[in-house]
């Protein structure tokens, strides 16, 4: 391996742990990657992982939720500017707003905030609910078993998202395939998918410049920051980010949530008989099954809680680790659907807090409400096993439920 530990990292701070290579991180039938990473809390609060990005780089790993907040709130020391997506293509342009730091970040973020605000999401709710009901009624009518991912989670979330973006939903399978290759594909599929998505967004932007519609890309090509239109590269940065960020995340959350409920019939029955508990329960399931690892780059040398972090080092704030921090959550490895003060890290901390968080929460709550109202006691189908995986974004490939 050609990823030697840098000289400034004390050997005793290096640990054999990685979101990519540790046990339970590769695709595993009946896996529980979240429980697998929770074990880091029996070790030191910060350590160095020699191989903790997809391209084989080492990162510092911040395990405490309070330290993650410090890192993510201090954007001067811990920059988000790293062109991760573009570098996979041998290019260098930021995804916007994710890979811009304040103050540049703020202008773009303010532009997008109203489109995804709690108010805007409340207005979208009836359409979201109708979509859920239509899909679940179809599933209930056609039998007593289905693959939740293929038949519900993806068509539900991706359809809502494509509507928002003004994209045709007859291409859902194509888009989901790009997302899967990008997030979970090999070294050939990943850059190919990235390239496809970039050309798709570029073409979409060009089409909207010629022919204005009432949709997201039209908004982006017409929008102004600091008194000027966005450059083509900025339009691409925004379009690619929103496309990639919304494609797979909510579906994965719904998959992990229904897998939990399929294995915990008491909790399932509780929510079915008292749907008023679903909002708090969804919050707890978001805490227990988050999907994203946040990466920052140190802009200067800093000694952080005993770790000699040097300029250019990668720093990982994995939400799945913060959410299992016993200093922040009582019995963190227990799912308690009535948990109070649930200030989890699932949508990140600091200025890059997930732009889609309000939409994601609504979709998850509505999805669970309508699923539980329409599908009787369900279990994981005998002889099948959901395949879960770790990595930069945790995922669940399949979830065959049975309610016969």
């Amino acid at each position: 391996m050609e990823n030697p530990v840098p000289d400034h990292v004390p050997p005793e701070m290096v640990r054999d742990f990685s979101l990519f290579t540790s046990p339970g991180m590769s695709p595993t039938p009946n896996g529980d990657p979240h429980a697998a990473v929770a074990c880091v809390h029996s070790g030191p609060p910060i350590f160095y992982s020699p191989l903790n990005t997809r391209d084989g780089r080492g990162t510092w790993v911040i395990t405490r939720a309070s330290d993650q907040r410090r890192v993510l709130q201090d954007t001067e020391t811990f920059s988000s500017h790293r062109s991760i997506f573009a570098s996979a293509l041998g290019e260098n342009w930021p995804m916007i707003p994710l890979e811009l730091d304040p103050p540049a970040h703020g202008a773009f973020r303010s532009l997008l905030n109203p489109l995804f605000s709690p108010k805007r999401v409340a207005a979208l709710e009836p359409a979201v609910r109708e979509r859920a009901i239509r899909l679940i009624d179809g599933i209930a009518a056609s039998g007593t078993s289905c693959d939740v991912m293929k038949d519900f989670a993806f068509p539900f979330t991706v359809n809502i998202f494509l509507h928002l973006l003004g994209l045709p939903d007859d291409r859902i399978d194509t888009f989901v395939g790009w997302g899967r290759d990008l997030l979970h594909g090999d070294d050939v599929k990943r850059p190919a998918a990235a390239r496809t998505i970039v050309s798709f967004i570029d073409e979409l932007a060009a089409a909207r410049r010629n022919d204005l519609l009432d949709d997201f890309m039209t908004f982006v090509v017409q929008a102004q920051v600091e008194g000027r239109r966005l450059t083509k590269q900025e339009v691409r940065g925004v379009g690619v980010l929103v496309f990639v960020a919304g494609l797979d995340t909510v579906a994965a959350a719904i998959g992990f949530d229904l897998a939990y409920l399929a294995r915990n019939l008491k909790d399932q029955e509780l929510l079915r008989s008292e749907p008023g508990r679903i909002v708090a329960a969804a919050e707890e399931l978001l805490r227990a099954y988050p999907t994203v690892q946040l990466i920052r780059v140190a802009t200067k040398d800093i000694d952080f809680e005993g770790a000699p972090i040097r300029k250019g080092d990668y720093v990982s704030c994995a939400t799945m680790i913060a959410n299992r921090d016993p200093a922040e959550f009582e019995c963190p490895n227990t799912v308690d659907l009535a948990r109070e003060d649930n200030r989890h890290a699932t949508f990140g901390y600091g200025p890059h807090r997930c732009l889609g968080s309000h939409l994601a929460r609504r979709e998850i709550v509505v999805g669970l409400e309508e699923w539980l109202a329409r599908i009787p006691a369900f279990r994981i189908k005998n002889g099948t096993a959901p395949i879960t995986s770790g990595g930069h974004v945790f995922g669940i490939e399949n979830l065959i439920l049975d309610w016969s």
Binding site: R69, Q73, S110, N113, P114, S117, P118, K119, E340, D341, N342, R343, H344, A345, F347, Y349, G350, P351, R353, S357, H358
Partner: protein, 69 residues
């Protein structure tokens, strides 16, 4: 009771408003409006729940009886 609002720390999670929209008012982008919040009598529990729900720790409880300002 009073809630001290540190606007610079607010990142628009909107968790406070999810607990008590009438106490924690947000702007159109979903971030908390500036200004500390005087909590009406009888609302202390809801207000402290809301304040404790902020992931960024932008809301602080001030339990001193408020001086006449």
């Amino acid at each position: 009771m009073r809630i001290i609002v540190q606007n610079a720390k607010c990142q628009g999670h909107a968790r406070c408003a999810a607990h008590a929209p009438h106490i924690f008012k947000l702007d159109d982008a979903g971030y908390i409006l500036p200004g500390n919040i005087e909590v009406a009598e009888g609302e202390e529990l809801t207000a402290s729940r809301g304040a404790r729900s902020c992931p960024e720790r932008a809301l602080k409880l001030d339990r001193e009886p408020c001086s006449t300002s």
